[in-house]
């Protein structure tokens, strides 16, 4: 009986202190920056934020994932300071891009990847398209061994899929097939499933997979920079128009040469300063 009373007393102390906490928690003097969105961009922003906070004690930056759609819709409803996105806000259903400012912070290249046992290293753009629209269904039609093609697509609405379809499918729609939502899972599935094809951001491609050249152009950073490799997109950090000074400074830091040449590269992205071309939201190239 005594134990129980004690227990209840301890609990009530905690509940009261919890209530106090909520009251005091918001009275911090630091500027709070909340970043939510794309899981692909999260590691970069998180690392950068950690670096930035070491030199700037007056801000506290929270970086979370949740997906590009979540990032943009939370920004739109003003629940967060910055929304990370893999896609242009213009191309996201239900988002009013005119009310937002786009800060491009990195470029990501993507390449088709195959299971290693297939034995195909190069495909033409039209072959690749035919595979993803389901016209070609066996690897021997494109010079591989006699095996059924297993398409692993990305989830509809994800930035990776949008980029791939814009550049490869040219308006045709992909066949219904397996869909996965994260780079890591796709990597594992392609590596272990015979006949599997998918596409991944460069930083996820390793020895367990066979990257594919398209029309004999190799997927690498150099080829992305001059747009001879077509499948690439920007990573965006969106803010509302009424952006405060601290947020602006942080975004400038992310775009600075310093970060672009170190962290951005280390995490497998391509620096925005190295790009010789730019793309707009309609996937048009501006030289």
């Amino acid at each position: 009986m005594l134990n129980l009373k004690k227990f209840i007393a301890i609990i009530s102390v905690f509940i009261i202190s919890g209530a106090l906490l909520t009251a005091c928690g918001s009275s911090s003097s630091k500027t709070k920056i909340t970043v939510v969105g794309s899981t692909a961009l999260q590691p970069l922003v998180e690392e950068t934020a950690n670096e930035y906070q070491e030199g700037n004690n007056n801000v506290s930056i929270t970086v979370q994932g949740g997906g590009s759609g979540t990032g943009l819709s939370q920004l739109q409803s003003k629940a967060v300071t910055i929304g990370n996105s893999d896609v242009f806000a213009e191309n996201q259903n239900g988002i009013d891009a005119k009310k937002m400012i786009d800060h491009k912070v990195a470029v990501v290249g993507m390449a088709p990847v195959l299971n290693k046992s297939i034995g195909v290293k190069n495909l033409s753009m039209s072959q690749l398209r035919a595979i993803f629209t389901g016209e070609i269904q066996n690897w021997k039609q494109v010079g591989g061994k006699n095996q059924k093609i297993e398409v692993i697509n990305r989830v509809k609405g994800s930035g990776t899929r949008a980029t791939f379809e814009d550049n490869v499918l040219k308006g045709k729609s992909a066949i219904k097939s397996q869909e996965q939502d994260s780079n890591g899972t796709v990597k594992r599935i392609v590596a272990s499933t015979p006949g599997a094809i998918s596409y991944l951001a460069f930083s996820f491609i390793d020895k367990t997979l066979q990257p594919v050249s398209i029309d004999n152009i190799q997927p690498n950073d150099k080829n992305v920079e001059d747009n001879s490799w077509k499948i690439w997109s920007y990573e965006h950090m969106y803010t509302n128009k009424d952006i405060n000074k601290e947020t602006k400074k942080f975004l400038e830091y992310v775009q600075s040469k310093n970060v672009q040449n170190s962290l951005v590269k280390k995490l497998g992205y391509i620096s925005i300063h190295n790009m010789k071309v730019t793309k707009d939201d309609k996937n048009k190239i501006i030289e």
Binding site: G67, K156, G157, Q178, T193
Partner: protein, 305 residues
């Protein structure tokens, strides 16, 4: 006067009792409040597909093309959830069917037959299993079960069968531990009486213990199915996640939850794409309610009164 007052006033015990009763009512009230809140949330969000986006409920339940954020051939968005509904039903029922006999066997073993040590050992293992994150189950499924299924049955290995096998391991601890609880709750005098009447051990287990534990076991199954139903991360890795009508247990398909989890981060709140996903959650909710009621009804019929 003092005595009269004392007699008329509720005693200390009564007050204590009232307080205690109050606390317990408050707690249950709190849970009901939580449930109502979340139900209201899901129902209002899930219905907006049909009220604000004017999607036909029948189309939603019977059509097979799912692509809510793009326009289909007939000029309307494609929101046919049938493949997901069928698959969700499939994996849930199969995994519960598969797990229940094992769970009951272990339950009987642990509560009726087992030597003490075996029981502790099993209990610890089962409790450890609950804590393994679903992601880990998913990856184990991807690296172990999918290749095995592919090698034995052909196909890609992704599909309802693999998902069922993964879920089997995941729901087993839930069903087992609750089954053990309800078997333990059977009064000992019942089985003693049965044994004293000359019944064999199995007769006692089957006719007395299992019978009187039936409602509890059914609840255990419901909780197990509930876990299978709501599981997303693990299933999503082994089922293939293709919004196709499952033709067999071996073709890639997609459950309500796996579709919900993969899609929710990529859609914007308030758009059809997002609302349609909440409708999937609503279907999930209604289906688990139906499951619940069915199992309860079976339980009532088999109840030992």
């Amino acid at each position: 006067m003092e005595i009269k007052k004392k007699l008329l006033m509720p005693s200390k015990e009564t007050r204590q009792d009232r307080l205690g009763k109050g606390i317990s009512y408050l707690s249950i009230g709190f849970i009901i409040l939580l449930v109502t809140l979340i139900l209201y949330f899901i129902i209002s969000k899930g219905l907006s597909t049909f009220t604000t986006n004017n999607i036909n409920i029948l189309d939603f339940l019977t059509k097979q093309d799912w692509s809510p954020s793009s326009i289909g051939k007939d000029g309307k968005p494609e929101v046919g959830a049938l493949p997901m509904i069928v698959t969700s039903f499939g994996v849930t029922i199969f995994s519960a069917l598969l797990a229940t006999p094992f769970a009951i066997a272990i339950g009987i073993y642990m509560s009726v037959i087992a030597p003490k040590r075996g029981r502790k050992f099993l209990q610890i293992i089962i409790e450890m299993l609950v804590g393994i994150p679903s992601v880990v189950y998913g990856f184990l499924g991807l690296t172990i079960i999918v290749p095995i299924v592919r090698n034995i049955f052909g196909g890609t290995g992704f599909g309802i069968l693999s998902a069922t096998l993964v879920l089997f391991v995941m729901v087993l601890p839930t069903i087992t531990s609750l089954t053990v609880d309800s078997l333990n709750a059977v009064p000992k005098y019942l089985s003693d009486a049965s044994l004293a009447l000359g019944a064999t051990r199995w007769q006692t287990i089957y006719k007395v213990i299992l019978r009187s534990a039936t409602p509890g076991i059914l609840t255990a199954i419901i909780f197990g199915m509930a876990r299978a139903f709501g599981e997303a991360l693990a299933v999503q890795m082994v089922i293939g996640n293709a919004t196709l009508m499952p033709k067999s247990l071996l073709t890639p398909s997609s459950t309500l939850t796996s579709q919900l989890t993969t899609g929710i981060g990529n859609t914007v709140m308030g758009t059809l794409g997002n609302n349609a996903l909440w409708s999937l959650a609503l279907v999930l909710l209604l289906m688990s309610l139906v499951f619940n009621i069915i199992v309860k009804m079976i339980g009532k019929r088999g109840n030992l009164k």
